[in-house]
Amino acid sequence: MLEKISRRSILKNGLAGTIGALLLRPKAGESHDIKKYPNSMGVLVDLTRCVGCRSCEAACNAEQKLPEPMQPFTDMEVFEETEHGRQRRTDETRYTVVNRYEVPGQDHPLFRKVQCNHCQEPACLSSCFVNAYTKTPEGAVIYNADVCVGCRTCMVACPFYIPTFKYSSAFSPQIMKCVFCYDTRLKFGKQPACVEACPQEALLFGQRDDLIKIGRRRIEENKDGYQDHIYGEYEAGGTSWMYLSSVPFEEVGFDTNIPHEPILDSVKNFLGIVPMVLTIWPALFAGFHLLATRKEQPRISDDKNGQEDAQ
């Protein structure tokens, strides 16, 4: 298209391009350091104590003002429900579910409560391009529906399949997930509704660091009764909600392949190249251009370049 390009115009264009690139630079290369709050709260879930009464589900439903389910919370038939061969999961009507597992060799079924694990370095938060998520000093991962665009990357990023989307709404859809009862309870130092409702003390609310010590002590005092692992101590960089189990975790529905590093770590490879491309490419390709087209451009064109280019 452009027949004559002088060195001056290249410098000019190159400079403009570089400044443009710098101005537009999305700063994606900077690593996102999520503060680890030392006094973060958490919950220790002891699977050996849970009897599957679903009181926590009912309490959550009432506390979060979620729609009343078809089957009452006293109905134990729901444990038989499967969808796509899987047991119940969180969705836009329930932030927590309890599932039953018949484990071979155990004389009674085991129950596992599912809800947001409130990661130390949440993948939902780091993947969100509008900063809709916040990790509060109390440990909760909360969500701001006012800025959410509904791209659902957080749902892709969450290794625990926790965030769900209100697909049923055309005008005010949003992400629906457990928020640790932040607005109504945690903020005021109170335990979440599900923990309060638990009749078995299967859920223990406290400072995360203390919960890890308590978990270790329980394992130590009853080596035969527990797996020697607190699920959530390291998974995905550590979570505020943690679990103790008497059987291997994969047998009660846990994903044991989740890496111990935060999910963000696997994205850093790409984030690192961004500033390099932004800074090196303009010079590199302007250089290629000079090398490829130098022959056709006699030096004298420097002075003549200008208005006559226009046609």
């Binding site: 452009l2 999305p26 993947s127 509904g150 892709v156 490419w281």
Partner: protein
């Protein structure tokens, strides 16, 4: 159209003025120089339009349903598969096929390869429309489409990969519009306005390379957020971005060959002399580039398998499927391209291009849908979702055709007729 042009010797419109010397009016230019009744007649005569009509007859009500009753009414509303066909095809497959703009821009503008000039505008248009429709697909998929500009102006999450995609696609769209404005100015009869674009065209081209490198790569990097969900053969935490960028090179080149083949075959009345005479030569040139890119891609795919030590995965069912994707989608068209270039067999190169484009789409669908959640169940999109995806593609086709019919994309605009 062809038949009507045969009746009327001064058509199609190829320049500012008619044979008589008077200038075409804007209305005449929009109606291709036909009267309204003749214009409608050519629309009716074309069987493709009837097919489009059927697609829209079902698709438009579905689109309304989506905006009135929510995404859940036209999709499976899956919380396990948050991204369905709208993004799997519309974003992840449309964007690599639209790499053509930056590739041909680089070839012609940056490396001074004027011999590819006759196809440059088609490549730019293919790029622009592909990106534009990726945004259209996004607007159907986003939960709150009216907040499209939020990541730019309202609430910024600069450390997220999607933030980069959003900014780069938006910026690159503007770059591509600027690159195509000269064609529009010529058509409008305002050739002098081109001057301002020409002055910055090298800057635009380089900006195009940077933005393309990063957002093509970023689309791949989005899947590194799901290291436990995507099958390890499709996911390479280290090299995902370069896999996506590299496959976009032959995807984009393949798409230009496909598009130019279709235009040359079905719209020959619209093709200018330079386009028609150089098309075979340019097609082989693009084929050569594509086969080099494919060879590079094969090697870096192999490197990824070796790097993550995933050899044993190749012996599983997933491994067989993966090898099938590579074999049919990459190795086969690569060999065909190479043979076509060696023998000068243009028709073969065109077949290879169709396969290559299919291969890239297949890879993106595998990544976003089929190998995603490989440990769970396989979600098959709801028929309404599939129909809507086709409907939007039909819209893309119409806009594409509308522009190629009118603007000087595959022919040179004559300012003054002697």
């Amino acid at each position: 159209m062809k038949a009507l042009i045969a009746e009327d010797t001064h058509l199609p419109i190829t320049g500012t003025s008619q044979n008589t010397g008077s200038a075409w009016s804007l209305r005449e230019k929009i109606f291709l120089g036909l009267t309204t009744s003749k214009y409608l007649e050519q629309l009716r005569r074309n069987p493709v339009n009837w097919l489009l009509l059927i697609i829209f007859a079902v698709g438009v009500p579905l689109l309304l349903q989506r905006y009135i009753y929510g995404l859940g009414s036209v999709t499976h509303a899956s919380n396990d598969y948050p991204w369905g066909l709208f993004l799997g095809f519309g974003l992840f497959a449309m964007v690599p096929l639209s790499a053509s703009g930056f590739l041909l821009g680089t070839t012609v503008m940056l490396f001074g390869r004027e011999d590819f000039h006759p196809i440059e505008r088609l490549a730019l248009l293919n790029g622009l429309l592909g990106y534009f429709f990726a945004v259209v697909y996004l607007e159907v998929d986003l939960g709150m489409p009216w907040r499209l500009a939020y990541p730019m102006f309202v609430s910024l999450g600069p450390a997220a990969v999607l933030f980069l995609v959003a900014w780069h696609v938006a910026t690159y769209l503007s770059v591509q519009i600027a690159e195509l404005l000269p064609a529009f100015f010529e058509w409008l009869g305002r050739p002098a306005w081109k001057y301002y674009i020409k002055r910055i065209s090298l800057g635009l081209t380089i900006a195009g390379i940077i933005l393309s490198t990063l957002h093509q790569g970023a689309l791949g990097a989005l899947f590194t957020y799901a290291p436990t969900k995507l099958h390890p053969l499709w996911l390479s935490v280290e090299f995902m971005w370069i896999h996506f960028l590299c496959s976009a090179v032959f995807g984009g080149l393949g798409m230009v060959i496909v598009s130019s083949t279709l235009i040359n075959r079905f719209m020959s009345w619209r093709c200018g002399k330079a386009f028609r005479e150089n098309l075979d030569y340019m097609t082989l040139g693009l084929a050569k580039g594509a086969s080099f890119a494919m060879f590079t891609y094969l090697v870096i795919k192999l490197v990824a398998v070796a790097h993550d030590n995933e050899w044993e995965h190749l012996l599983t069912g997933w491994g067989f499927y993966y090898l099938m994707e590579i074999g049919i989608g990459v190795v086969l068209p690569m060999m065909l391209f190479a043979k076509a270039v060696r023998d000068g067999a243009v028709a073969l190169a065109r077949w290879a291009a169709f396969i290559a484009v299919f291969g890239v789409v297949w890879n993106r669908l595998n990544t976003a849908l089929f190998a995603f959640n490989y440990q769970l169940y396989q979600d098959v999109p709801y028929w309404k979702e599939i129909w809507l995806t086709v409907t939007l593609y039909a819209l893309y086709f119409i806009v594409y055709r509308f522009i190629v019919y009118r603007l000087p994309i595959v022919f040179d605009w004559e300012e003054y007729r002697a």
